[in-house]
Symmetry: C2
Subunit: 198 residues, 2 copies
C-alpha cells in the first residue's frame, strides 16, 4: 500500500470506524478530526474557528456571524470557510508527502490526485440503529433530523469545493454499503480490493 | 448465498466477465444475453424484436420503425420496448424464485426487491484498453464513440424504467472500479463483501 486512502462517508454509516480499522490493518496513520488541530496549527486561525467551519461552505454562514469576516474585511477578503478549506488542503498534501495514510472527509479525494478513494453509506434505518446504539448524547427522536442535516452539509461542502457529485460511484474506486454486511464486511471488501492494486 | 446478485455495468468495464466469474465461484447460474431468448420464449414476441429493443427506451425508437407498433396499433397500444421490458421482468422474477443466480443488466436490481446489487465501472482510458484488446470487430478509433453511445442508452433505459439514477452509489450495495485492480480484484472484493452478509 503506497498510496493515501481517502474515505467519504454518509453520516452514521461507519466511515470513521472503517478508517480506524483499515489504518490499523495496513499499519498506517489515520486522520479525521485530527486534521482540524493540525490545520489550525499550520495557519493563523484558531482551532475554534476550525471547529466552527469544518466541512461547511460560505453560503451556509450566517451573514451576521462575527466569524465570517474580520472587522476590517473588504469584499476582496477570503471567507473564513475558504481559508479553513485551504489550510486543511495544505495539511492533507503534506501528510500525503510523508507516506500512505487514511484520511476521512474534507474532500481529500479531490485535494490529492493519486489517492485510492472509498465511499461508505447505508440506508437510513441502519444508520439510525447504528447511531442510537452509540453514546452520542442525541435523543433518538432527533437522530434522523441530525443525520439528514449533516449529510446535506457534507454534500454541499463536497460539491462546492470539488464541483463533483457526492456519492456518484464513478468518483470513487470502491463504494460499500455498510447496512448489509456491517463495517467489518466493508473492511474485508476494501482489504481484498487493495490486495490486487497495480 | 441465498440471494440473487445483480450487476449493473458501464460498457467495457468488465461487467459480464465479473458476472461469469462470480457465478462460477458461487456455483450458481449466470444470465445476461440469455435473458433475451428466455423472454422471447415466454412472450408472443420474436427473438429478433428482443434483440432490437433490448435495454432501449421508447423515446429512442425511430417513429418510422415498423417495430414500434403493429400495423393496427392504436394510441393505447403498449410500445414494443415496454413489452420487452415487461417480458424480461417476468423472466427475471421467475429465475429469482428458482434460487440464487447472477443477472447482468436489464434493471434487475429494481425488478427484484431483495437482490444484492453491484455496479462496475472504469475510466474511459481503461475501458478503451480493455475493449481494444478484445476481438470486438469495432475499429479502435470508433471504440470511444461506441462506448459512450451504449452507456447513454443504458443510463436512459435504467432511469426511464426505474426512476432512479444510474451509477448513484446508494442504489447499489457495492460499487467497484475495475481499472485499478482489474476484474479479478473486483471479484475478490465482491466475494469478501458477500462473506459477511447477514
Amino acid at each position: 500500500m503506497e498510496r493515501v486512502i481517502t474515505i467519504s462517508r454518509e453520516f452514521g454509516s461507519g466511515g470513521r470506524e472503517l478508517g480506524v480499522k483499515l489504518a490499523k490493518s495496513l499499519g498506517i496513520p489515520f486522520y479525521d478530526k485530527e486534521l482540524i488541530a493540525m490545520a489550525a496549527e499550520e495557519s493563523d486561525l484558531s482551532e475554534e474557528d476550525f471547529l466552527h467551519y469544518d466541512e461547511r461552505i460560505p453560503a451556509m454562514q450566517d451573514p451576521m456571524d462575527r466569524h465570517l469576516y474580520t472587522p476590517f474585511s473588504s469584499i476582496y477578503e477570503v471567507p473564513m470557510s475558504d481559508q479553513i478549506f485551504l489550510a486543511q488542503s495544505r495539511v492533507i498534501r503534506k501528510l500525503a508527502e510523508q507516506g500512505p495514510c487514511v484520511i476521512v472527509g474534507r474532500c481529500a479525494d479531490m485535494v490529492l490526485e493519486d489517492s485510492v478513494n472509498l465511499f461508505i453509506y447505508a440506508k437510513m434505518k441502519d444508520r439510525l440503529n447504528r447511531m442510537n446504539a452509540l453514546d452520542t448524547g442525541i435523543a433518538p427522536e432527533m437522530m434522523e433530523t441530525q443525520i439528514r442535516d449533516i449529510d446535506r452539509k457534507r454534500k454541499d461542502y463536497y460539491q462546492y469545493y470539488t464541483g463533483n457529485e457526492w456519492g456518484k460511484a464513478q468518483n470513487y474506486h470502491l463504494c460499500v454499503e455498510s447496512g448489509l454486511v456491517g463495517v467489518e464486511g466493508c473492511l474485508k471488501a476494501v482489504l481484498a480490493y487493495l490486495e490486487l492494486m497495480k
